[in-house]
Symmetry: C2
Subunit: 460 residues, 2 copies
Amino acid sequence: MEELEIKEIIEQIDSFLEERKFYDIKELIKEMEPADLSLILAEFPKKLATLFRLLPKDLAAEAFVEMETDQQEELLTSLTDNEVRQVVEELYIDDTVDIIEEMPANVVKRMLNNSDPETRKTINEILKYPPDSAGSLMTTEYVSLNEDITVEDALKRIKRTGVDKETIYTCYVTKPDRTLLGYVTAKRLLLSDEDMIISDIMETNVIFALTHEDKEVVAKEMSKYDLLALPVVDKESRLVGIITVDDAIDVMEEEATEDIEKMAAIIPSDKPYLATSPFTIWRNRIPWLILLMLTSTFTSQIITSFESKLASCVVLTAFIPMIMGSGGNAGGQTSVTIIRGLAIEEIKLGDIFKILFKELRVSLLCGVVLGVATFAKMMLIDNLMLGNDAVTVEISVVVSFTLLITIIVAKLVGCCLPILAKRVGLDPAVMASPFITTIVDALSLLIYLGIATALIPGLK
Amino acid sequence: MEELEIKEIIEQIDSFLEERKFYDIKELIKEMEPADLSLILAEFPKKLATLFRLLPKDLAAEAFVEMETDQQEELLTSLTDNEVRQVVEELYIDDTVDIIEEMPANVVKRMLNNSDPETRKTINEILKYPPDSAGSLMTTEYVSLNEDITVEDALKRIKRTGVDKETIYTCYVTKPDRTLLGYVTAKRLLLSDEDMIISDIMETNVIFALTHEDKEVVAKEMSKYDLLALPVVDKESRLVGIITVDDAIDVMEEEATEDIEKMAAIIPSDKPYLATSPFTIWRNRIPWLILLMLTSTFTSQIITSFESKLASCVVLTAFIPMIMGSGGNAGGQTSVTIIRGLAIEEIKLGDIFKILFKELRVSLLCGVVLGVATFAKMMLIDNLMLGNDAVTVEISVVVSFTLLITIIVAKLVGCCLPILAKRVGLDPAVMASPFITTIVDALSLLIYLGIATALIPGLK
């Protein structure tokens, strides 16, 4: 739904509320999408419970899942025990667990007290899995079938039990002790003859996850193999839950955001920006700022040791920012390409020599073109247009040649460091622009002042 | 499948090939996942057609979809007309179109000549949609139902026609002229009584896309509303195709990669890194490098105009890289956070004042802490440990105070520019670190040299 449409509906509800036309509100919102409803409810913090009570039971639960944490808490506190029970009953287990993980203890207690004993037991089991594991992401509401029943029986079983399942499109075939044997898709069931036996039509080549596996790896598998659901088994190969594709999509989006944050020298957080306090944002940003500031001691030292030379030829100083900037940009381009390639598994560790050779050629091309462009720019803009006589041919050659070498070094550093990080088990994403820049800053300065010393005879 | 397992299978195939044990190869690969098979086939460029012919027809087509473009081309060239026909017949239309878009004209002709007239017509129609549109992403192989039939009839229709459909889990209800009326999920069909009428159980509140809508927007909608498929309609509201969730996932991944590339000052490309020529990589990287180099003319000019002051107090030069680096990092952190927030719609344009106020507080916190840390570092490390007497209390105050102001300015620039870009219809992603850095470089220099002039009496 468009932002504008939502705005109109909010205004309408507002006037209905004033006139106490609750029936009209009910009619207005009863067929909306849960994601849109959560946006609309967020606009009525004081009437949250009132509006929520006007929703049909199943839609209420679905909208509840889409709401922000603080609104969920607000709502759970203002609803009656009976209403809380109805919401929890309608929720899928994985959503319940997600919500419980964010709630304060008293609200959690209320939710657990108002769920039936079996649900409570399952919730407590899922809560035991580590936060980033497949176990914590899964739901226990799947369809399981015995291998010796017919397609007809299977369809009947789905009809009987399917309404509460998160998906019925992949049904899992298990032994009585829950050992996973295979799966049958609903498509297969619908296209097969009714008297066929499940064991004859099931797929036994199952892609599954272990409860403790990283949820990012699981989401990638699901994307790679185009799966709508993936079974999660325990150490004894017993089926304990499934992960559905909508949750995998959310994980992939979160992981992309995390990688982007790491590449920008931010400690990732999983809370939305607007809901994060300035203090928390500060805490996620300051460590890298301090670390990178400290490492710049090297650049200061290098400049200090060339102090007298720089004083005797100050024009050299004017191009330090440009050289460092270009080096940082060139290195950042490469490192970010490699980091993303590793993340989406387009690049493997074994490709390092292929990559190095490719980056060498790219950096030569970039370096030569940038060097020539810089020479032209210095002579035409700095010298001719801006009339800076200190920018001589000699100085321009030094700067251009430095750029050529810097670009090559920056690109090679930018391609080696992420791969090296991956090899020793670190996260390649931290080897992005800010980190590469700091290293390239120091290297490019050394190259610059070295070349200047060699090529400018008067420098001492 | 693990890298190691795949390696073992490759070795096994290699020895089977040598001994000409084709039956064993057939048995070995006949139940593999298409994504794994494509990796394995890639290792046998000379035996591609031989191995491909050993695969069961449907698996062959699925593996074909997963292969790299150059291998697909290779294969299409070496297969007989009849074999090409078999492959094209097994492919889903959207995959055929994707492949055709990458193939040279002679191969395209061969594919079209070997498909039946109706498929050919459909392919040609889809090829007319703009490359990034919903129309170009959709498939025409969906289940459509009349509104007046019973659930039983619908299930029979699915059984009869479902095998060639890309998904049967969302069935679309249309008028005889193909106007979209609503949808029924397979779940709903399976859980309903057989004599119910489709029009009574269908959902009429359909989320759909127009053929020319941007595929990124469509993928986001599908993720937001947790859809497994989304119908695509033409201007007359007639159903022309559907987009399935696996394709939406691919789009989301591509878009994340594109955004990351843009943020690193690279012109995005949709080819995998290893398959891109150094020349193309160069072409995608050099424009930004040159542009950013040119803009650094400002920093050179600023330094030049303060030349005499810097010459009389060279120690100031030593901290230019650190100040610029910190400013760039701080600005980059903010801009990347805002860009990502805008991309995943966590942040809206209307939030600008909330964001500005938040970033102001964060930047104050960051600036004060970084300033104090820098003061301590300069006095302890530069002065005491490294014995640099030029780093006086006065100089340290100038540098620390500059940092405080620079961080605040950098963060405010980093938060305004992406939002401004979005408002005027530009892509916010280009307003990331490299671009912000160039602006912040110039600003921080002005702040630095301004503060130094004000606070150091001897400077002239």
